[in-house]
Each structure stands twice: as C-alpha cells, then as structure tokens.
C-alpha cells in the first residue's frame, strides 16, 4: 500500500540550504501566527482598526478584516509548517505588510491622525507617524530577504 504524504512534513520543513533565509521566514511566520490568531480571537477589534484607516468602503470593512486576518493565519501557518507552501506564504505575508505600510503612508499623506492596528491594537496606541512606516517596513524587508 502506498504511504500517504503527510500534510505537515517537519523533516522537509527545515531548510538548511539557506539557513538565514529559513530562520527569518520562520520568525516572520511565527510572529504572524501569534498576531493573526489574536486578531481572529477578537474580530471586532480588528475590523474597528480597519475602519479607523478610512480607506476601505465602509460596507466592506468587516469582510476585508475577516479576509485579512484569515489570510495572515493561513500564510503564517504555511510558512512555519508547510515547506512546499513556504514561498507562497511568504509572498502573501510580505504583500499584506506592504498593504499595511501603504495604508499608513496614505493616511500620513492626507494628514489623518489615526491609529494603525496592523499588528494588534490598544486604546493607548499612538497615532501613525513616520516611525509606523519604518516599523511596518521591517517585516516587508524581512520577507523580501527570505524570498530572494
């Protein structure tokens, strides 16, 4: 009888050919696993964060929030546990971070003093600033480095 391939192949998941890229991808994946799980636990908090950006048409705020957090979780899971899907997952995480950076940049340009709830939100979170852009660009650069 033919042996069934496991969905999660931990042996193949560890790529020692490119260790730096592998560990960066792993860190990014684990970071997003925690962040996305937290968002999924409190969906209304994240949909409020999406609303505060004032960039998505208002009727689509909740759908966008649900899709974004699920996409983050699935992509992070693929990066950490599914070697064959790691590259695809990394592309998605990098794109999501780029979207967050773009949103923060757009609001900074139009002078909207709002909070970026990209990686979780708190009532005492500071409004977006140039520092928010730098912070959001770190995972983008990490993702691009791991993808090169």
């Amino acid at each position: 009888m033919r042996k069934k391939k496991p969905v999660i192949d931990f042996k193949k998941a560890i790529n020692m050919e490119y260790p730096t890229e592998y560990y960066i991808a792993l860190m990014l994946g684990m970071f997003f696993l925690i962040v996305a799980f937290n968002k999924l636990m409190h969906p209304h908090t994240f949909s409020t964060a999406v609303f505060h950006e004032h960039l998505v048409p208002y009727p689509l705020v909740n759908i966008t929030a649900l899709l974004l957090m699920s996409l983050e979780l699935v992509a992070a899971f693929a990066v950490v546990f599914m070697a064959k899907y790691r590259r695809a997952g990394l592309w998605i995480l990098t794109a999501v971070c780029l979207i967050y950076t773009g949103c923060a940049g757009a609001n900074l340009l139009r002078g909207l003093n709002t909070v970026c709830g990209c990686f979780g939100s708190s009532a005492r979170a500071a409004a977006i600033s140039h520092w928010t852009l730098v912070r959001n660009l770190i995972p983008v650069l990490a993702g691009l480095f791991a993808l090169r």
């Binding site: 490119y18 969906p43 209304h44 909740n62 649900l66 899709l67 998605i92 003093n113 009532a123 409004a127």
Partner: protein
C-alpha cells in the same frame, strides 16, 4: 529558500492559500462566539463625519500629552449635569445643546489661544463634532475632536474631575 520553485507554481500555491483563507474566514466567523456581521453600518459613525468635515482627530495618548503640557483647551460638549458628574481634568464645559439653542458661542472659544479639542460622551455622540464645526465656522481652524470621549477616558481608568465649573 527553494529557488527551483517556478513562478507559476508559486502563483498557483498563492491562489490555494487565498482560497483556504476565504474558507477559514467563513468557517471561523460562522462558529465564533464573538462573530461579526459580514456587513456593518460603519458609514453612520460619528468618526466618518469628522473625517468628511476635515476636522483633526485626537487619539488618547495625545490627550494625555495635552493634559500634561496644558497645550490645548479641552472642551466638554456634554450637558452641564453630565460634566458635573465627571470630566477630563482641566476641561471647560460648553454644552452643545445650549450653544444650539442660544445660537451663541462662548467668548472663551473665540479668543486667540491654544488649539481646542472637543469631546463628548463617546464615539456614538456627535455633540463634540457639532460644536467643533460651529467654532470652526467663526474662523478658527485649530479645532480637533477626541472621538473616544469620556467612554474611552473612563475605560482606561484615567483620572477625572467632578463638579461644575
């Protein structure tokens, strides 16, 4: 990373992951005890009108900063009895209902001075915004709205003052 992956193969896998995410979103939101409506009426929120009016929004950390350095005039737009029950320290009471009834804006809001931040009971109340618009119509453009209002201030257990002015 594995560089033998072709672009087409990666694109196909990205699509599979997106499909999985759509199914996860639908599934989680179906069974989640804190599930949200797929479509919610965000457009009717007061914050939307603040943005449409082009009035600056003030976040909680900035309010705390303004309180520390006394660099803004904080204006409580709620009715006087609500102000007396508790308000942000140092805020002055200018109930919007009185301004709307009399059609007169108190002189202290028209004097040259620091920028003004208006607030009321919470994100659902628009007295702060309406008062900010009324003051802006007099020619002042340094008005802002703290949309979280007393609701957010209280939820963060920040100090407040009691009593009338």
């Amino acid at each position: 990373m594995n560089k033998n992956n072709s672009a087409a193969d990666t694109a196909k896998k990205i699509l599979w992951l997106i499909l999985a995410a759509v199914l996860l979103a639908a599934g989680v939101n179906w069974i989640h005890p804190k599930r949200i409506a797929w479509v919610e009426d965000w457009g009717s929120r007061v914050e939307v009108n603040v943005v449409r009016e082009g009035i600056a929004l003030v976040q909680l950390p900035e309010m705390i900063e303004f309180l520390r350095d006394n660099s803004r005039l904080l204006v409580d737009a709620r009715p006087a009895n609500e102000y007396a029950r508790g308000h942000i320290p140092g805020a002055v009471s200018v109930p919007f209902e009185v301004v709307a009834m009399d059609g007169v804006i108190p002189i202290e809001l028209l004097r040259a001075g620091p920028g003004q931040v208006f607030y009321c009971s919470g994100p659902e109340c628009d007295d702060g915004l309406l008062l900010a618009i009324a003051v802006r119509e007099t020619g002042r453009d340094d008005v802002a709205v703290f949309i979280g209002g007393m609701e957010l201030w209280g939820s963060e257990l920040l100090a407040f003052e009691e009593g009338a002015e």
